[in-house]
């Protein structure tokens, strides 16, 4: 094979610390290399044209590009060599940017290491073989996991685009965190007025099947053909019969159940519909608080229900759905702020979270929209907002900025003044992050028109003093310690990955970061894709996001799904395992270890052999390292190919 080597300067990204001309010169000496050069930007149009021209001029049989990571441009260059008539797998990359030029400044060592990596790539290339994709049919249905605003947007866009959508929501209503908000910044629009109609659309759309109060149990398959096992948790109410009349809630004697929708402000009944606009508007029983289910006594709801839909014997139910793509929109949860002992760690009833305050502000909330202190029901006069609780704080393992707290705090300060004109709000902040259209103007209004007192500094301690809370903070601009006698303290608690996010990621086989947020395919260029084909991200599951960004990503994910489904068939990745029938002894070890069930037993002239189903094989290569005979080989990563790399590096 005649090989061409192209060493990229990447402007000065590589050239500054790697002598690319020297790397090309060294490559010319490698066996098989017929052409080698250094180029300014290999991925640019002239750069790619140079490759095409060289293939033709020198009759090259394979190409090595030494540049950035293959995770960036492998696909780009595969298309380039294909344009010149080569098979796309007769191409290798040497990563001399992320793994060389960017991690050290020693030009001599870097140049030497780059030469080594190019040698490795050329050695592997000589063992490469042309590979060809196969086509397979796809199921054009999409699963949306999570019914918050991002999931709703993705589901509606897909459904409007003509796709069948299955939506799975963990709680008994869709709407997510947005449904709990009173108003939204910076327009002070009523949250439920914007979201409510969208929720109704989900319920009424002929293309959407909604499983509320359900969770993902199992995911199998691959892009185009996923098989999903959904667990419908027992609600103890037959939802086909339930009309959402609410009589059961009125009569239920167990009135001490945790009110999750209202963030624990107030209590609810053991059988409940979370809020009047819930979708679906169906009742469910919280078994921990139902005396019929815990002690076998009561049964009031069954007696009063006009449609006879109560069923205390109900069990979890499992349903299987087949889809071709998945949009993950599982959102976020609030950081558990009780680790802040200095803020009372939850011991003081009048220290609440921003989300609890939203419920208090909401006309349909537990206080009917009246701001009242949880301790004594009095109207507060001095209200202190503390920002960055569980954000930008390494000591609690949350170094990142949640990004939307500055804005919701400003909104809450404005709403507070509207509700209680005599009140005075104080905001302890570190920096105001108001980077959005009309955002900074909004925070300015909170200060200029609503007379919110912004104090630049963190709070070190909150403790009760009489019936007030003494908030002791700093005003770093004054350079002094400051104290505020507060009636109510609202913590702008930061966002963290939703509970159970990592477990779901493992089922989806997508990556997550240190904090449990899902990893996008590329931070700049693939913001909604994941590294698993057919799985997309929308909303705060990928990182904290405000409503506009979540909605935008929901639509983007839908666009990706619609794009994927624009074809009737997909091309399989030919980097799959194949069995050398002559060497296979039919031991079946590969069949046992394959995580996809992609290898089956066949018979060949009375002998048992392994056979790989190409469209199911995902190319992990576990079978290759398992096979005692070396009979199963993962294409493009065969034993010979990897050993040729080892030999290129280690040679006496």
């Amino acid at each position: 094979m005649k090989i061409g080597v192209f060493v990229c300067h990447c402007g000065s990204n590589i050239e500054a610390t790697v002598d690319t001309a020297a790397v090309a010169a060294a490559a010319r000496q490698f066996p098989g290399v017929a052409f080698a050069t250094d180029t300014m930007y290999t991925c640019s149009e002239p750069g790619q044209d140079e490759i095409v021209a060289a293939i033709k001029e020198h009759n090259l049989g394979g190409v090595v590009v030494a540049s950035c990571t293959p995770r960036m441009h492998e696909q780009t260059f595969r298309r380039t060599v294909e344009r010149a008539g080569l098979n796309r797998y007769l191409f290798e990359m040497a990563n001399i940017r992320e793994h060389v030029s960017w991690i050290g400044k020693d030009r001599e060592a870097n140049t030497n290491k780059s030469i080594d990596l190019v040698r490795m790539a050329t050695e592997k290339l000589t063992h490469n073989r042309p590979l060809y994709s196969k086509k397979f049919d796809i199921n054009k249905r999409v699963l949306v996991i999570g019914g918050g605003v991002a999931g709703i947007q993705a589901a509606l866009d897909c459904a409007d685009g003509g796709l069948e959508v299955v939506m799975v929501e963990k709680t008994s209503t869709i709407g997510g965190k947005m449904a709990k908000l009173d108003k939204t910044f910076p327009t002070v629009d009523c949250s439920s007025c914007i979201l409510g109609p969208r929720m109704v659309d989900v319920a009424q759309h002929p293309n959407i099947t909604l499983y509320a109060y359900s969770e993902i149990e199992e995911i199998n398959g691959y892009v185009g053909n996923f098989e999903i096992k959904v667990k419908k948790k027992a609600t103890y109410v037959d939802w086909d019969l339930c009309t959402g009349c609410g009589i059961c809630m009125e009569k239920c004697p167990s009135k001490k159940a945790t009110d999750f929708f209202n963030e624990g402000i107030g209590k609810t009944t053991a059988i409940n519909i979370p809020f009047p606009q819930a979708i679906p508007k169906k009742a469910k029983i919280d078994p921990a608080f139902c005396t019929k289910l815990t002690k076998g006594k009561c049964g009031v709801c069954a007696k009063v229900c006009p449609s006879g839909c109560i069923n205390y014997e109900m069990q979890d139910e499992f349903i299987t759905e087949k889809v071709g793509a998945i949009v993950t929109a599982t959102g976020f949860d609030l950081f558990d702020w009780s680790v802040y002992g200095e803020y009372g760690g939850g011991r003081y009833p009048d220290v609440i979270t921003g989300l609890q305050y939203e419920r208090m502000l909401s006309a349909s909330g537990p206080t009917g929209g009246h701001i009242k202190r949880p301790s004594d029901g009095k109207e507060p006069k001095n209200i202190v907002f503390i920002q960055c609780v569980g954000s930008r704080d390494k000591s609690v393992g949350r170094p990142y900025c949640t990004g939307f707290c500055c804005m919701y705090t400003a909104k809450q300060a404005i709403l507070t003044k509207d509700h209680l004109p005599e009140s005075q709000s104080y905001v302890f902040y570190m920096d105001i992050r108001a980077i959005g259209k009309l955002y900074d103007e909004f925070t300015r209004r909170a200060m200029e028109e609503y007379d919110t007192k912004y104090i630049r500094g963190r709070v070190s301690m909150i403790y009760p003093k009489g019936d007030k809370l003494l908030v002791r903070g700093a005003d770093t601009l004054m350079g002094s310690q400051v104290e505020v006698d507060a009636d109510l303290v609202v913590l702008a608690v930061g966002a963290e990955a939703a509970a159970g996010a990592s477990k779901l990621a493992e089922k989806l086989r997508i990556s997550y970061d240190t904090y449990g947020f899902y990893m996008e395919g590329h931070p700049k260029l693939k913001p909604v894709e994941t590294n698993t084909a057919g799985v997309y991200l929308a909303g705060a599951c990928q990182g904290p996001k405000d409503i506009p960004s979540s909605v935008a990503q929901g639509s983007a994910a839908a666009a990706k799904v619609l794009g994927l489904f624009s074809k009737d068939q997909l091309e399989s990745d030919p980097q799959v395992s194949i069995v050398d029938i002559k060497r296979c002894i039919g031991c079946g070890k590969c069949i046992k270890t394959c995580p996809y069930g992609a290898i089956k037993e066949t018979e060949l002239r009375g002998m048992v052999k392994a056979d790989v189903i190409e469209t199911i094989c995902q190319g992990c290569g576990i079978c290759t390292s398992t096979c005692p005979q070396g009979a199963v080989q993962l294409q493009h990563f065969t034993d010979n190919q990897i050993l040729s790399e080892v030999n290129a590096l280690c040679q006496f």
Binding site: V396, G479, S480
Partner: protein
């Protein structure tokens, strides 16, 4: 107000020394002020602790080491316990105090003298001898009325002894102090030979044997 030239006034040796001796990274501080917010002594500080952090970060050695705050810090650890960047602020205050002491910055005379008297007492007796410590402190500060009002409360309780508690190994303890002084002197000599402009204001105070002073003090207050 003085205009500060940011690059010219930046004392990088100072920053390096603080970082090395404290094991803390000054750039980790983002000036949230939580240390100042929690510091029980802020009321008395001439420079708030968060501003000490800022001045140290920006290499303003003279201003930092001249600050009275260094001497008022009681090492109560509020700042360290609550710092969102996990900076051991109390330790930095400790290190700054060491530097101020070594380089002869006066600080707060009474506090420094009290600490010196305390250590003098340990040096001489192996353990703290409270009456002797007080005597030494008084003789160095001339503050006779310090706590004499407590005498009639405490004396009858049998809590105050006029002779130090006896221990065998007190010479070992004394030697620790002597060696420490020798080591510090060696250290200073090395530093001086390195930088000619080294400040040579008052060296470490001598610890005065208190017993000798006792009679002098108690003559003024007829406590026997």
């Amino acid at each position: 107000m003085k205009v500060i030239n940011v690059n010219l006034s930046y004392n990088s040796d100072f920053v390096t020394q603080v970082e090395e001796e404290s094991g803390q990274k000054l750039n980790n501080c983002y000036q949230c002020g939580k240390c100042t917010a929690g510091c029980p002594y802020t009321d008395e500080y001439d420079i708030a602790v968060s501003q000490i952090m800022r001045l140290t970060q920006t290499g303003q050695k003279d201003k930092v080491l001249n600050s009275k705050s260094l001497w008022l810090c009681a090492s109560c650890e509020s700042c360290t316990a609550r710092c969102p960047n996990k900076i051991d602020v109390a330790r930095i205050m400790d290190v700054l105090r060491h530097m101020a002491r070594k380089e002869g910055y006066i600080g707060i005379h009474t506090i420094k003298t009290f600490w010196d008297s305390f250590l003098g007492s340990v040096k001489n007796n192996g353990r703290v001898f409270e009456v002797g410590l007080l005597a030494n402190y008084i003789s160095h500060t001339g503050r006779f009325w310090t706590d004499m009002g407590l005498g009639h409360k405490v004396l009858p309780k049998g809590k105050i002894h006029f002779t130090p508690s006896e221990m065998q190994g007190k010479k070992e303890v004394t030697k620790i102090f002597i060696r420490f002084k020798e080591e510090s002197a060696k250290c200073r000599a090395r530093e001086k030979s390195r930088e000619i402009s080294a400040d040579s204001r008052s060296p470490q105070d001598e610890y005065v044997p208190e017993l000798r002073l006792l009679s002098r003090v108690f003559k003024h207050r007829n406590l026997h």
